[in-house]
């Protein structure tokens, strides 16, 4: 068919040419995978802005951004897709305006509602993966649980003060022979089965944050997303050394780029594997043995009590 013979427009070929020729990227097949991908970004703030910026530039075809906040001046020292003129506009809508100017070949769908137990499943299930760019533990557990229930990975970023953290949750693992999935890595609940108490949680409005830190983590979230979207292609390629990923040990990246000690600027730490008795991604037998109830409906879960917010 005509569409198959020219799967990108000439304008798209011009735009993406420099990355399509890149050894290790994957050429036209990789670009087409990105174009057909649907990515959900929860949070349009310090992390969401740079993440969406580089996803859109790279040609990820459909990006849905969920955020119910509006742009405030205090956001503007780090949230790079919002502008002075768009103060007062919904953040999701402001990002849509920015992306329209950056790359007319991608669709940015703004959702100006809060991400809740009610809309989480339909939102997550209609996308290939989720970027957690939020700023509070409750939403982080909610995104995680929805993603596990839908079988999607979460590219989770966090930034506070002068430090950042990046981890891919519930990611498919592959054995070294490339014979197929050998299960999933840990989810957020595997790593943190008990939520931190509210008094232990500082957010950016209390503790402060620097724009280059959110910029760094958000950009790395976009990078990790592109890596995950192209993973299947690279795994099947006979490859040049870049092309055949070994089974990833679950790791978290810690970034302290303002540190003066070069040894601690970036550090990868080894994480525990999936918890067989995890309430959302665990095994039936292990849960039954411990008398634990598996999470099967987000709306029946009391996230407010779980996060200790009931009495606040």
């Amino acid at each position: 068919t005509k569409i198959d013979s020219l799967p990108l427009t000439p304008s798209e070929y011009q735009r993406y040419g420099r990355q399509m020729i890149l050894p290790g990227f994957g050429g036209l097949p990789a670009q087409l995978i990105l174009k057909r991908s649907r990515v959900l970004v929860v949070g349009a703030g310090g992390l969401g802005c740079p993440a969406v910026q580089y996803l859109a530039l790279g040609g990820v075809g459909h990006i849905t951004v969920v955020d119910h906040d509006v742009v405030e001046r205090s956001n503007l020292a780090r949230q790079c897709l919002h502008t002075e003129k768009r103060i007062g506009m919904s953040k999701a809508e402001s990002i849509r305006v920015a992306v329209e100017a950056l790359n007319p070949h991608v669709t940015l769908a703004p959702i100006t509602q809060q991400f809740t137990a009610s809309n989480a499943l339909p939102l997550v299930s209609s996308h290939d993966l989720v970027l957690d760019c939020t700023d509070n533990p409750l939403t982080r557990y909610l995104i995680n649980d929805a993603a596990v229930l839908c079988g999607k990975a979460v590219v989770s970023g966090a930034a506070q003060g002068l430090e950042g953290q990046l981890v891919v949750l519930h990611r498919e693992l592959y054995d070294i022979n490339g014979a197929g999935s050998s299960g999933r890595g840990p989810c957020y609940r595997c790593l943190f089965p008990v939520a931190p108490r509210p008094q232990d949680v500082t957010d950016c409005s209390e503790g402060g944050v620097l724009g280059t830190i959110t910029g760094l983590v958000g950009t790395l979230q976009a990078n990790e997303t592109i890596k995950l979207l192209l993973e299947g292609l690279h795994r099947s390629a006979d490859g040049n050394g870049e092309g055949s990923p070994s089974p990833p040990t679950p790791t978290m990246l810690l970034a302290s780029p303002m540190s003066v000690a070069s040894s601690t600027l970036f550090r990868s730490i080894k994480l525990r594997p999936r918890r067989t008795d995890c309430r959302v991604c665990g095994d039936e037998t292990a849960l039954t043995a411990k008398g634990l109830r598996r999470i099967s409906s987000l709306e029946e879960e009391d996230y407010i009590s779980f996060c200790g917010l009931a009495t606040l």
Partner: protein, 144 residues
């Protein structure tokens, strides 16, 4: 007081993600401590807080820690012991932001790393510390 240097473990501690704010000023993110190799329960007694130790020279740790090598219940220094040691020697305020409500573990939301690996891979509280181990306490971040 007659302890030799063999009775102590040289441990590198690191605090991050905000846990360093619980330490005594100057709140050094990286500290090197000498931990008694045997976890004498007397060490853990709160009265030892009289002698705040920020970055301990090697022998001071031994002096503080091993009051009697014949004390009962003394066992190899494990993570359970280290958490208490930090609580008593390094944390100056709001210790509830560091330790668990059960008083034994670490509060939810703090990642504990032994030589750059999640301590759950190493046996958690029961892990017996080795000379030269690097232990990190990193608060998970939630900001965005």
């Amino acid at each position: 007081m007659a302890s030799s240097s063999k009775q102590t473990l040289d441990i590198k501690l690191e605090f991050g993600g905000g846990t360093e704010l619980l330490l005594a000023p100057p709140r050094n993110k990286k500290q090197r401590i000498s931990l008694p190799a045997r976890a004498d329960p007397a060490t853990l007694h709160k009265t030892l807080r009289q002698q705040p130790v920020v970055t301990m020279p090697a022998d001071e740790g031994a002096a503080n820690g091993v009051s009697s090598s014949s004390a009962k219940e003394a066992g190899p220094a494990d993570m359970r012991f280290l958490v208490q040691w930090i609580r008593n020697h390094l944390i100056v305020e709001r210790e509830e932001l560091f330790v668990n409500t059960d008083g034994e573990g670490v509060r939810p939301g703090i990642l504990v790393l032994i030589n750059d690996a999640d301590w759950e891979l190493e046996g958690e509280l029961d892990y017996e510390l080795q000379d030269g181990d690097e232990v990190c306490f990193i608060s998970t971040l939630h900001g965005g």
